[in-house]
Symmetry: C2
Subunit: 333 residues, 2 copies
């Protein structure tokens, strides 16, 4: 960590002269200039970012983005949105908690010591107290959970509505025995989706049948298989997310049932890459994740600037219909 002072001493000039040379400002004799440049290189000088920005009174705002798993397309998209909103003049410090709750809390709690000016927490199961605590130091954006605190804004997806639409769509496509492969209900999001499903079923006077399955393909497969084995009547499945749907799809295929002919399936999240690549392509409830990321960053940036604006921002999902639920003229199989 060479410093200006060192290269100044080595060349018998003052720090300010060195500074001038290195920044190409003011006029310095060609001879000294060369020597200074040379010595600077030899010493491997790199200016201290902090000192420089402090002296120049310029500050780059940095936002901390905490995600549980950057490989998950949902969070990758979220990140993309945040990156977009931050553009050229704000930096984003990415922190992956690797789904380790302990690490996550640590990251959140320490964020301000890392010099971030605000944080976005991309996980709906954060500890409320922690959010409140941190928000007393720096602004915070959280997802899918409502807070009423000065320094935090909530980005919310209308999960109820998404689930409602998906279920209704299945029913209107001729399904009357629509089941729900849901998440674990201690997660708010899962609960909302369950309720949306139930609402649609009731609206059509149908009996809701829901299972607390989980979030991955294996679980979807396992439950669907069990359900089919049990002989239960099923002609439509609304799943917690795309992975569960894919698992269910696999099971259905194994039973030589046709999708959507015998059983129609709808997922949630709409990871396009995934949905479009499988066969049949999977209908899914689309979350405008990228946009959500973008908005969350924008709102955070505003908060950092001191403009307290929105405290809650609600997004609407939309159903993307693909073959897995589209019976068209075939009607019910």
């Amino acid at each position: 960590m060479a410093k200006l002072k060192q290269i100044a001493d080595a060349t018998n000039v003052s720090v300010s002269t060195v500074s001038k040379v290195l920044n190409g400002k003011g006029r310095v004799s060609e001879k000294k200039r060369r020597e200074i440049l040379k010595v600077a290189k030899e010493l491997g000088y790199t200016p201290d970012f902090r000192a420089r920005t402090m002296a120049k009174k310029t500050k780059i705002t940095t936002v901390g983005l905490i995600v549980p798993d950057i490989i998950n397309p949902f969070f990758a998209r979220l990140t993309r949105g945040v990156e977009k909103a931050c553009g050229e003049d704000s930096l984003v410090i990415l922190m992956d908690s690797f789904r380790d709750l302990h690490r996550e809390e640590k990251l959140i709690r320490n964020a301000r010591f890392f010099g971030v000016d605000g944080i976005i927490i991309g996980n709906s199961r954060v500890n409320d107290d922690l959010v409140l605590e941190v928000s007393s130091y720096i602004p915070v954006v959280v997802f899918d959970k409502d807070y009423d605190h000065e320094n935090v804004v909530s980005i919310i997806l209308d999960n109820f509505y998404g689930a409602y639409c998906a279920t209704k769509h299945l029913i209107e496509n001729g399904c009357s025995n629509v089941i729900h492969l849901g998440g674990t209900y201690e997660l708010y999001v899962s609960l909302q989706r369950l309720e949306g499903y139930q609402a649609a079923m009731k609206e059509f006077s149908l009996q809701p049948v829901a299972y607390a399955v989980g979030y991955d393909e294996g679980k979807g497969y396992e439950y669907m298989k069990r359900i089919l084995l049990s002989g239960q009547k099923v002609d439509g499945v609304f799943c917690m997310n795309d992975l569960v749907a894919i698992g269910a799809l696999k099971a259905v295929k194994e039973f030589s049932l046709r999708v959507p002919g015998d059983i129609a399936i709808v997922g949630f999240d709409d990871d396009e890459q995934l949905c479009e690549v499988i066969s049949p392509p999977l209908s899914s409830v689309h979350q405008p994740v990228e946009e959500m990321g973008e908005v969350s960053a924008k709102l955070l940036l505003e908060l950092i600037k001191g403009n307290k604006k929105v405290r809650r921002y609600i997004f609407s999902p939309r159903l993307v219909v693909r073959q897995s639920s589209l019976r068209g003229k075939e009607g019910t199989a």
Copy 2:
């Protein structure tokens, strides 16, 4: 941006007293302590990270990670590896170039002004001069390209070998008309894979037939369709990447040909999520991306510390065989 001075003035004490209170050091009368705390909260005081760390002589090293597209699983995995290696004491500033070469160069060039202590460039088609330029200020890690510069380390995957293995595998599984749906050959990686393919074909005295297809599903589909229409003999396809392979797979299915019975297919990259979800599951050449990310960060951190160590690190791919290329006892269809 409240400062210590302000809250000091407001409470008629000195900055140092305020500092002590806010940091819980030294002893200050309960009365003042309370008042200071109160005013600090009112003013929404947040310590200046730069000033603080400078005064404390502590420095958190930060690495800049530049990727062309965080949504692409390859880069998401890379990022994950970097995050892992950085652990608790280094920060990673993520910069997505959105595949905009111009933006990317800007990001790379400006990185050092953002206070990063080193950068990892997750893109093999960087401008050499730029890399050299930047590396004269801060250490740089690049992928799939060999440099011989003091301040840059290259992380390389043996693409030739991967392609060779994939092709050989197809041949040994009974394919004799193996074609290659390759990338565009101005990209070094694509060229290497092409050469690996050719080498394997020659080894078995087979005639290589390669196409410069591109990198996405649409291209794979389009080319494969055209090839099948032309009536050309094909019983094996080695693709540039998984997406191209998926496109090709679609085309093959449309022609009512069986995979792997009539045509066996192998992809590259091994995006597991993708490969395992389609049917039949896709064989693919696996890159240890996450590990590569981890190693690149570790090496960078070493360079930042001033320990010049490795200058080149080569990883070996490995073929993951799934159904799309596994003919087992069936032999050639």
